[in-house]
Symmetry: C2
Subunit: 204 residues, 2 copies
């Protein structure tokens, strides 16, 4: 049977936010886990390329807002497909609530938030794993949490049929399409920044 | 709005297996995350009370078999509700395949396995977080992965209506029912070993 066994691991989706005293910023992650309940501790793995990663390294404070099935693709584009280094993601984004640790929770397309204070940061290569104490949390909606599988099937736009005889490489994370027989070496998705391993070849 | 925000985090479900040279053993966990793709590394948080935890501390080798929607409650009872210290869970359990690192994958009610070699172990209190290199993996079935939400709604037996005037405390993890007005202090579910925080009060 074909396929990538790693894709069978289930994840939720989260807007991860931080504030460095100058501004608020956020990105999309899928790697939040409650690791102990007494005390209440969570881990999150965050790509070092994210501006939010560096803000959390500095301040240790963050909030994860749990994306629900009510979320639309705009939420993912807004927080997932561009960097806070180049824009202020919260400039005109008003569906927010400031939590106990001074960071922002996103209150639209989400069903809960969990604010944390980092106690450990482990370098694992491309990502840092943060261990954190939960310092605040709140239920925002009764809508179910969106799993990554739900995002793939229900939220991400359906791809258009590929023109006959044409070959494209499609990013399985965000749907971006690269036209050409082969992906350039070391190609990174211009939208969501995932690598060549996340692209699939489609021929029309 | 009421409810526990921590319950909005999404998880998959996994049979975690190890072999200490004398025997194979396994338990159920929900905390597997791919943390980097190059190199391919995963983390898992495992309760120190699990026999499998100690075997992995010793040998560093394990397999996680991804539970699918084809799994029945028996799989959870078999691997989740008793300890390998008291029984040989693989004695009459034949739906297995030995993977590249010498541990067993469970091939029934699962859709993939991922074998790992531990490179770091972080003590976070009641649990250890293992960081591991993926050394082997395979797709076993095209059935979807079971999320913890799916287990709660579709796999766990539906509770019976509580008799009128009676009060019970029900374990939200496995469904075990304790009869009485109050749970004893420090109560642990005799079936799945989760604590009082995972029980809900139900009155008939």
């Amino acid at each position: 049977m074909s396929g990538n066994p790693m894709f069978n691991i289930s994840y939720g989706l989260y807007v991860l936010t931080a504030n460095n005293g100058q501004k608020d910023n956020g990105c999309i992650i899928n790697t939040v886990t409650q690791v102990t309940s007494e005390p209440n501790q969570i881990t999150l793995a965050v790509n070092k390329g994210n501006h939010t990663h560096d803000m959390i390294m500095d301040t240790k404070d963050f909030t994860v807002s749990v994306v629900s099935e009510a979320a639309d693709f705009e939420l993912f584009k807004h927080f997932g497909f561009c960097s806070g280094r180049e824009m202020d993601k919260f400039k005109d984004f008003t569906a927010v609530e400031r939590t106990a640790n001074g960071t922002l929770a996103v209150t639209k397309g989400t069903n809960a938030y969990i604010s944390g204070r980092v106690t450990q940061a482990w370098d694992v290569g491309s990502h840092t794993i943060f261990l954190a104490d939960v310092v605040d949390s709140k239920i925002l909606s009764a809508v179910k949490s969106a799993t990554y599988g739900y995002y793939q099937e229900q939220i991400k736009p359906r791809p258009q049929a590929t023109a006959k005889g044409k070959t494209i490489w499609r990013c399985t994370v965000c749907g971006y399409e690269y036209e050409g027989e082969e992906l350039p070496e070391g190609y990174i998705c211009p939208l969501c920044k995932h690598g060549a391993a996340d692209f699939e070849k489609v021929t029309g």
